[in-house]
Structures are given as C-alpha cells and as structure tokens.
Symmetry: C3
Subunit: 278 residues, 3 copies
Amino acid sequence: MQVEEIKTKIKAAVIAAKKAKPLVGSITNAVTINFVANAQLAAGGSAAMVYLPDEGQTLAQLSNAFYINVGTMLPIYAEALPKTAAVLAASNKPWVLDPVAIGIGSLRTDILRKFKEYKPTIIRGNASEIIALAGLWNLEGGSLLSKVRGVDATEDVNTARKAAEALAAYTGGAVAVSGVIDLITDGDSTVYSYGGSLLMERITGAGCSLGGVMGVYAAVADPFIAAVTGSALYNVAGSLAAAKVSGPGSFIAQFLDEIFLLSAEEIGNNKLEKDDKI
Amino acid sequence: MQVEEIKTKIKAAVIAAKKAKPLVGSITNAVTINFVANAQLAAGGSAAMVYLPDEGQTLAQLSNAFYINVGTMLPIYAEALPKTAAVLAASNKPWVLDPVAIGIGSLRTDILRKFKEYKPTIIRGNASEIIALAGLWNLEGGSLLSKVRGVDATEDVNTARKAAEALAAYTGGAVAVSGVIDLITDGDSTVYSYGGSLLMERITGAGCSLGGVMGVYAAVADPFIAAVTGSALYNVAGSLAAAKVSGPGSFIAQFLDEIFLLSAEEIGNNKLEKDDKI
Amino acid sequence: MQVEEIKTKIKAAVIAAKKAKPLVGSITNAVTINFVANAQLAAGGSAAMVYLPDEGQTLAQLSNAFYINVGTMLPIYAEALPKTAAVLAASNKPWVLDPVAIGIGSLRTDILRKFKEYKPTIIRGNASEIIALAGLWNLEGGSLLSKVRGVDATEDVNTARKAAEALAAYTGGAVAVSGVIDLITDGDSTVYSYGGSLLMERITGAGCSLGGVMGVYAAVADPFIAAVTGSALYNVAGSLAAAKVSGPGSFIAQFLDEIFLLSAEEIGNNKLEKDDKI
C-alpha cells in the first residue's frame, strides 16, 4: 500500500465515521474522561463511559468499537477490565488500548499482562509505554526497564519502533507511537505522521483523546488506517489550532473546533512518510 | 397557568437563584462532573459533589437541593444513592434525577427501580430514558424496550409525552424531556421550550448540566417552574452561544458565559408553547 | 525576609519550575482533576494522578512533589491517602494538602486527623477549612464548628490567621488561606497577596488547581516561597484573564493561557504586603 492509497483510505474513514456516528464505549481515566468524550463527539462518534464489570460487558456488546485506558485505576478495574476485554475479544470488536503509566502499581501490571491474550486491535502510547508493554509481553524490542514519567512523550518514537512492530505482529492489529513525529505500524507497513504542536504537551489528554478517537475510526476502518487517520486528524488539527491561539487553555477549545470542522480532504492531506520494514 | 404567568415565574426564579446562591449537592458521573459544577456556578448556585454514603446523607441535609445522575456508576453507589435519596425524600428536599443510560447494568436498574419510592422532584432525560424509566416503574407510556444508545437524544420528545405525564403524576413533581424541542410537564400542564443548538449534541454534558442547573432553580421555585426555567436558560444560552462560535470547543466556553450573563428578562422571553393534557 | 527578597525568590521559583518541569503526583477530586493537571502543566510542571494505595506510594517516590485533595472521597482513599502520606513524610518529599469540605463524612475526618502526624509541607484552603483543620488538630485558632458550605471562600482570610499560623508553626511548613485577598504564613512571616477576580468564585477548581500548582513550586522552592509564588501567579493571571473575557467559560481558557504566558518578572511583581507576627 502506497502513501496515496493510505491517504485515500484516510479520507474514506473520516467520511464513514461522520456518517455512521459509531458508538464507542470507554473505560478510561478520570483526568481526561471529559476530553476523550468531547473529542470523540467532535470527530463524529458517540461516546459512553462506564466502570462496572457488567456495564463494561454490556457496553462492549452495544458499541461499534471500544477504548480502554488504564490511567487512574480503581479497585473495580480488577474485574471490569478483563471481563470487558474478554467480551471485546470474543466478539471481534475493534478496541484501542492505552497502556498509560505502565509500570506503576501491581493491578495495572496484572491487567496489562492479561490483555496479551485479548489482543487489542490498536495499541497507542508514547515510546516508553510501547517499549514497556512489549517488555511485559516478552516481545522483541521490549524492556521492563523503560522509564515511565507522568504522561510525557519525551522519547523519539524510533526508540520504540521494534517494540511497536513486534506488538502489531503479535496482535495482528496496529500500534501507534505518539511523539513529536508519530509512528504507526501494522508490523509490516510503517508510516510517520507529521504535524501537531508543542502545546499538545502542555495540556493533559492529547494522547488519551487520540486513543479515543482512534476508536471512532476503528469502527469504520481497518486498525492500521484507523490509527493513521486518528494521528493525521490530530496532527492537522493541532497545527491549525496552535497557529490561532496563544496558550494551552485556548488551545483546548480551538483544537476541538478544528477536529469538528476539518474536512476529510484536509485530514487526508496530512504529511505522511512510509518506511516499511526491510 | 397561562404562558405569560409561566414566563413571569421563570424570571422570578432566575433572580431568586442569583440572590440565594443555593447549595446544590450532587452525586454525578465522572465524564461531565466538572461541567455540571461550572454550569451550576454560572447560573448562580453553589456546587458540591460526593460519592460516599454518609457524605451523601450529610450533603443532602446541608444542601438546598440535590442532583443525582446515575452515569459512570461506582460500586459504592449501591449504598450511597439509596441512602442519599432516602434523606432527600424524608426531608422533602427538592432533587433532580437524571436516569442516564438506564438499561445498562444490574446495579443501575436496581437503584433506579428503588428510586420510585423516593419520588424525585424533577426527572430529566431524553425521550428513550423517560420511556424506559416509566417502564421500570410500571407506569403508563413506559416500555422496558426503549432503546438506549450512548447519551444521544435521538427521538422526538413527543414519543415520551405519555411516559413523562405518568411519571410526573406519580411523583407529584415535574418531568423534562430533552430533545430538539424540550418538553416539560407536571402531569397536567405541559410546555414545549424552543431554541438551543445542534452543537449541544456534539459536546458531552449538555443534558447532565441542565439537570444540575434545574437543581439550582428547584431550590427557589416549584418543580415545574424550576424545570421550565432550566430549559429556557439552556435554549436561550445555546442559541446565542452557537451563533458566536464555529465549533464545539469554543461553544462550551461561550455557553457557560451566556449562562452567566443572561438576564432574567432574556431567559423569561424564551419561546414557550403550552399544550395541556385534554 | 523583606518583601523585595520574597519577590526575588518568587521570580527564581517560577524560572526553576519551568526549567525543571517537576513531576507532581496527585490524589485529587474528580470535579477538578482535569483543571488541576492543566494548571500544573501550564505552570511548567508534569502531572500524574492515581487512586490506588500502591500506586500512590510509588508515585510519591517518583514525584518531585505531591498534591493531596480530599474532595470526592472514594472508599479506597481509606488506604491510599494514609499510605501515600506516610511515604511522603518518610522521604521528606514536599506535599500540599487541600482539606476541602472538611467536616463532611467520617472517613474524611479520620484521614485529615491522621494527616497531623505526616505534617503536610503546605496546607491550602479557604478560611473555614483552615480554622476547621486547626480545630481537628487541637491547635490555637481552630474550631470544629467552622461552617463548611460547598467550596466557597466566603470569609475574610484574617478570621483564619491564628489558625494558619498555628498550623504552620506545627508543621514547620507554610499555610495559604485563599480569599479575596490571600494570606500565606510560615508561622512567623505572613504576607497578603492581592489580585485575582470575582470570576474565580464562579468557576470550580480555582482553589484546587492553586494547590496543585503550589506543588509544582514546592518541588523547586521552600514551602513559604512555593505557596506565595502560587498565590502570586493566580492573582496576576486571574486579574489579567478577567479583564479580557466576559464570563466564566472564557475565563477558564484565558486563565490557563495567562498561567502559561506570564513571565517570572510579571508574577514576581504581584502586589504583596508583609505583616509579621508581633
């Protein structure tokens, strides 16, 4: 698949999402739960969030795609997350995993280890998180010693390329590594997505909400295209919003506006580079 | 009560709320908890949120009115919600119930069924939710088969008119059905409130925060007037905000500004139509 | 220490925080958790939030400073808060306590009583909360009868001056009392910080996020300077933002922008008055 074909598919995914208004259920952290929902709505999806095990199972069945983010773990997650992931896996429902803050806490580690068997359709994280998850799953390129520091994306995405490819090869889905330049791979094909803004590191939730929006696209496109489409949207919207504001508070509002307003054409024209595995 | 009398009472409620700054306690969902609090503050109220049973009971006693929204249920809700509602009912404190996502999960269903005995002063939901709650309470116009899909208000409010009237007749309070046009009834008198914006469906929390603001007005007005005042405020503020912005992110900020700035006169002049039960 | 020396130290703290980007972990309430994180990021810090006991302990060790806010208590807090505070105390890590809604609920009271032994580095609250905490800890100026009403700061900060001084003398840290004029004391030196806006009472989280931002500065300055720097930042940013907007929704965005944009010079020049204990 060449870059032009990818761009055509991105445009189709954007249009399909706005038409279908897919319901994307989420179990996600308290810090950015509102921003995730608003970003999903701005991109054309429908959002619903739960915490309880039977609600996660029901919502997994009702949803067109799902988003699981392991930030701000609650005790009930010990039951809710595995049960919800099991339903998603059993029903072949596309879902996005955001392994935020991997390495902190025993329950988070247990659950992320268990998710290996449920094979998330898309995994999105920063380089540290992707390396750590590959380490936890004993995959190539992984390391359990990957440094975790808040929710920053401080490393070059290429440090996680091998880990990302190994994770995608294992799940049969896609992996997106967020950084100054984003990397998205299905294990074979890898693309770099350009754009965004440094202001995205000065707000909380740019990464979480991107994962939530990839869920919207995963309801209407294959995992690789869904992940690339989400990254393209965020890079274009982030650049445009940053050019219009002077600080992070105004950026949040303008960024949601851009997500809402951007055409499929504008998103599809985001700068992409392809660099496949040799 | 004629439309002009209702409008006069709306204006009085707006003024009374800004003067009294009533404390409205809430147990509400994590997605929109911040927006609920900010909307209550913008309308002139004071906000406090809790989760624990004894805190709910204490806050119910301290508050001038209360708001209960069953989104993002937590295990502790099994104890917190019935105990809080029991205090509210025993002390004749006005409270608003938002039966969001009714039909998902056994705990939510159990609690919403139990709320029948505590007779919420105002019930606010979209058409599907109102029909489902009437079904759960075995009232006319209700159906347990009402479709639930995220937090959308996709149905015409009139599909829920019989259910809304039956609920209001049962509780002796008011029921508000949110849609493109809003319906508010006390079981006998029914009004339609016009305005708002399609952008309100592209943000999360327009409905939740409306419920929270109805709580502010319920502290200073009877249930029907409180519900109509909240709807009028949201319809006027929504229309004005939408005319000034280009997307949902800016809309959120502008909408809170309008809630804060609108005069009693402007809110009272919102288009209302009366159509009583024959 | 004269006012000019304090101002010089404020400027140094602002610069140091932007350079060090300290990680400030938090266990904080659901209402304003997003705003706390965004304010910490805008001020130059890095933010991470957790709920679980072992995550609190680990994050306390990883963080440069910590913020604990007892709003929206969850059952797991019974274990998480004391364990986290114990790690903070044992490792001499600076941390900020926000005793929001003190007096509501038995768990909140138990935990706040227990915190006496862990001596929070900075305590931030409104006058009522500071008086109540001093009362709970049996310190001079305290009273268990202090009225608690939502999250308002309705009393003159001077009503809490004795309580604040007693708390700071006991902990060896600093206490900040938020009001129309803010009071900050280390038990001996006391300063009043001027500015801000009445709009800060019409949004939720001005106080919580100030506590979170004091955590950012506590990672790079002594407790008294960290508390004064946070107050100065909020007073300057609040005044500037209020002058540019017409309502609370726009204020939130503009306020975060100002936090992000203000220079050390501008923050250091905030009006301060010194009035030491005689």
